[in-house]
Symmetry: C2
Subunit: 588 residues, 2 copies
């Protein structure tokens, strides 16, 4: 059964995200959404279902192969699918029109990104890296570099990679040792990078590597890093001489996303790979974060896709597999069993909550970059985005792991078979919480920088908005009572907890380390409830909409079965640092 984009739910999420992000108030983007949503969503759904989804199992089985000459062969069908993908303009959707893009809102592109991830996560990672690279180059590179690289990246003629990690420098990039020395107008880079996704393949002739490196005399630590464009093919040159001094020395064998070539690279075995500086010297980390923040949203969107795909496979199986009897004793399919519906509802309501939050983050990027928005609106959007990015990356990827695991459970023994797509999803999903900054790094970013950074102001605004969404739910709808009552309580408790943590953090060693992750979970599950409150509000206003009954049932389920997780997180945080701090490392 090929991937089928859940268009009604995606439209609901787009509508809600346009409102929540403020994009709906901007005439240009709002009009673009209005005019192009249907065509884009339906076209993307077709590509995801007909082109990418059928390659998902074959990609997993084939993996990617490294030949003796250093070339990387991708799975059968990937190269031609990529060509079609580019020809149809999917790489250019949200790119600026001055570089050949279609200039559509990132919010709309977000729905397509989710589709690619749901249909074929390993494939989807390739165009997603380019989106990040386009942003980094657009905002930080010189006009000459922009001129040279943006057009082919936007058209998909060139692919990109993000080369940060080294064997000794994983989550902590301060120890990066790849060196860059000046060479005329350019630089020569020497070093080793590992775990680089799509750093070599046969989908495109050229690959634009963005490489983090250290220049002579640069300060130690992450403040001494600079970002370089290091293309696979040197500009202007022709034939074999065109190859830059970069070599893939191995591909990793991974638990999942097996069709995505994960490369170990050497740069500069023959005198140095030629590279060009992006942005200011020693400002590499800032440039890299432009890209990284896009990638984090990308992980969130792809993870929503994986969760969604888990939902649709599990639902389809639950509808067809005959097993046992229903509560009245009649032979039944799996879906008649309450526990199976409980699991399906868990997947579905988490996925939709994650989707609306991820789309909202995309809409906030649009607003933050829009010339139609007021300076204040842009600042507010940037602050809200700062809170949302780590939540989207971490929570959505956790949800993909949970959803794929529940899908395996619903399939039962069949789900444990290697050829069953849900078992692949279970393996594929597991990368999400690890890469582009582990989920703990997200939690730390959320609490230390985004919440404490402005004294809790942006968080307070957001929680107040959540509280108001609950307050306007109709009082005469009993199924919505738990949401109407519990959501404001969580908002109040989060406000108190955040200010309490802010007071204690200086004096209690290990405090933020101990509670950052439960704090992120608490805020995320509460924000999910906020999104369900917004959806419920819409559903009540549109009693004849075919989706409305399902929305109300889902919102009630989320409030009853998912939101209670907030109580566990709150209790963990109330215990403070001591349960972790007192367990010193020699006690393990």
């Amino acid at each position: 059964m090929p991937y089928e984009a859940p268009l009604p739910w995606m439209r609901l999420a787009l509508e809600q995200a346009a409102q929540a992000s403020g994009l709906a108030a901007l005439p240009g983007p709002a009009e673009a959404l209005q005019d192009y949503s249907q065509a884009v969503l339906e076209g993307a759904a077709r590509i995801a279902g007909e082109l990418l989804s059928p390659l998902n199992r074959t990609g997993d089985e084939f993996g990617a192969k490294l030949a003796a000459d250093g070339r990387v062969q991708t799975a059968p069908g990937f190269a031609s699918a990529y060509q079609r993908f580019c020809e149809d303009g999917w790489t250019a959707l949200a790119a600026p029109s001055e570089f050949g893009g279609q200039g559509l809102p990132l919010l709309l592109a977000a729905a397509t990104t989710e589709m690619w991830g749901g249909a074929n996560l390993a494939f989807a990672m390739c165009p997603e890296v380019a989106v990040g690279a386009i942003e980094a180059l657009r905002l930080h590179a010189s006009p000459a570099l922009r001129e040279r690289y943006l057009l082919p990246l936007v058209s998909g003629e060139s692919a990109a990679s993000m080369a940060l990690t080294e064997p000794q420098a994983g989550s902590d990039l301060s120890t990066v040792t790849t060196s860059a020395v000046p060479d005329g107008d350019a630089w020569r880079l020497t070093g080793r990078k590992i775990f680089i996704s799509w750093a070599e393949h046969d989908l495109t002739a050229n690959i634009v590597h963005l490489v983090l490196a250290r220049t002579p005399g640069a300060p130690a630590g992450s403040r001494g890093l600079s970002l370089f464009v290091v293309p696979k093919l040197l500009p202007g040159a022709r034939g074999e001489s065109a190859r830059n001094d970069i070599r893939v020395i191995s591909l990793e064998h991974k638990l999942g996303i097996r069709a995505s070539p994960t490369c170990a690279l050497t740069l500069g075995e023959h005198g140095g790979a030629r590279g060009w500086l992006v942005g200011e010297l020693h400002a590499g980390l800032a440039c890299m974060f432009t890209m990284m923040n896009h990638m984090r949203l990308g992980v969130g969107l792809h993870s929503c896709g994986v969760a969604e795909r888990s939902r649709q496979l599990a639902l389809s199986y639950a509808r067809e597999r005959r097993q046992g009897r229903d509560a009245s004793g009649v032979p039944a399919t799996l879906i008649a069993h309450a526990d199976v519906r409980r699991m399906l509802l868990t997947i579905a309501t988490l996925t939709q909550a994650a989707r609306t939050l991820a789309y909202t983050a995309a809409g906030l990027i649009d607003v933050a970059q829009s010339e139609q928005a007021s300076a204040d609106a842009r600042t507010q959007a940037t602050l809200r985005l700062g809170l949302l990015t780590p939540i989207v990356k971490a929570w959505c990827s956790d949800i993909a792991v949970e959803a794929s695991s529940l899908a395996v459970q619903i399939y039962g023994g069949m789900g444990y078979m290697a050829e069953c797509e849900v078992s692949q999803l279970y393996r594929d999903a597991r990368i999400g919480p690890i890469f582009e900054g582990t989920n703990y790094i997200q939690a730390q970013d959320l609490l230390n920088r985004k919440v404490f950074g402005d004294g809790g102001a942006a968080l307070g605004d957001w929680l107040e908005q959540m509280r108001q969404a609950a307050a306007v739910l109709p009082a005469d709808e009993p199924a919505l009572r738990p949401l109407r009552e519990q959501l404001p309580l969580e908002c109040a408790a989060l406000t108190t907890a955040a200010s309490h943590l802010m007071q204690l953090r200086a004096s209690e060693r290990d405090l933020t380390g101990s509670v950052a992750y439960p704090f992120l979970q608490w805020l995320a599950v509460t924000a999910g409830a906020w999104q369900w409150a917004l959806s419920a509000h819409t559903a009540v206003a549109r009693p004849k909409d075919p989706l409305s009954r399902a929305i109300l049932a889902d919102a009630a389920f989320y409030a009853a079965h998912i939101l209670p997780r907030a109580r566990a997180s709150a209790a963990i945080i109330a215990a403070g640092a001591s349960p972790v701090a007192n367990a010193s490392s020699e006690l393990f």
Copy 2:
């Protein structure tokens, strides 16, 4: 790094389980524990670490291969390891001495079962099936069958399989269609079975299949099923003629436990496989449940092993991997980071709680079967075991999934590599919640049969015992306050919730289906807190014991970070049936 049995923690769990099960009060078994524990644990630890653990990765890589002649080849080293395993007597540990066993308490064998699962889960499943088969034959088979099959099963010369599942009969066995027709003193069986673990291999010459089948004129449904011994080699015959009419038609390619051959079998392609009835006609389900209950405990123990192995690999990596800086800014290994310790403590405290509960279940089987125990003690042990078996199967297997996932997270990108053992554990662990009755079937068994079955009496006794364990914790130990205060509250809330559910279940359709699983989770996490209360009590009494500081830190962590999950479960259950019942299947 090979598996290393956590002997101090296993001894603590054995001691606690001997008390909690009542085994410590029985002179014979208590003496056996006293006399043999050290030798057995140390010997088993050596076998697990030196013999089985080194075969775990190779087994996963090789899988199992089916040749054209129907023979199944296991991974290199498995056959000779099995031979050594049997020669050293590990298959015979808890088997009755009249059939060549060593007659040691099952409680002691439980620790070894955990070790096998932790060192090499795929291998461990083979001897574990035999343990279940021995129990079924010992309790239900005729003297002649016992005579013929028990000795070779106990010595390990014969292996066993449990052939229940058919393509149309997964969790629901009532639709089993394999037929058995009388043939002299025996029966002839015809049918197909799927998902049969270790039903064919090269570790032993003979394999004793226990097959569920339907006899002519038997009632429909599960009450028409009978259990048969169907040996691979026919008794008395020699050479090729000795082969029974059973054939493996395929092996499954699985997500994990890849070295364990999972077979699809046909019986009776050439006139019928010869089988002998075990127990009464139409009493097959009862006989099968003897075996199944043992297998469920086995899944729980193996899952503890997988969780333990996750802990030790993650701990070892966290101690050696240099990354980032600690809270005071000094370059550090992973374990210096509070969030890594939080994850390690989550794995460690869940694993030890699961271990003590699983060992307690084993001890209860000893007591229930002991001639030294009073009739009342045996009845009480049987009732408590009834509550514990589904919890041990479901909760321990959930914990193995969670622990292996956290271990992958602690390893970061390295944990996502296929050759990294933690990524194998993540795949291996996922079978636990599925087989031997899905975890929801366990939850349903717990709530509908074990809790409601006696009007909540056995549950009430247990909760009262938990309450008392909290009450005797010293009031002057601040780190233990959350445990001392929260555990009794959970006991009271569980009592109320159970009696509430008992009243409502007749009138609310879908109620038990909706809440059984959260109920199991709630009771399990509370029972885990009970075990930590018992450990903490011991630690306070033994201030000089080197384990005591770690126990107190772990108990405090469990109370602060794990027990709060009970609040989420309680809130879900308080919402009743409607959140699931109102989401009718057409709304999905």
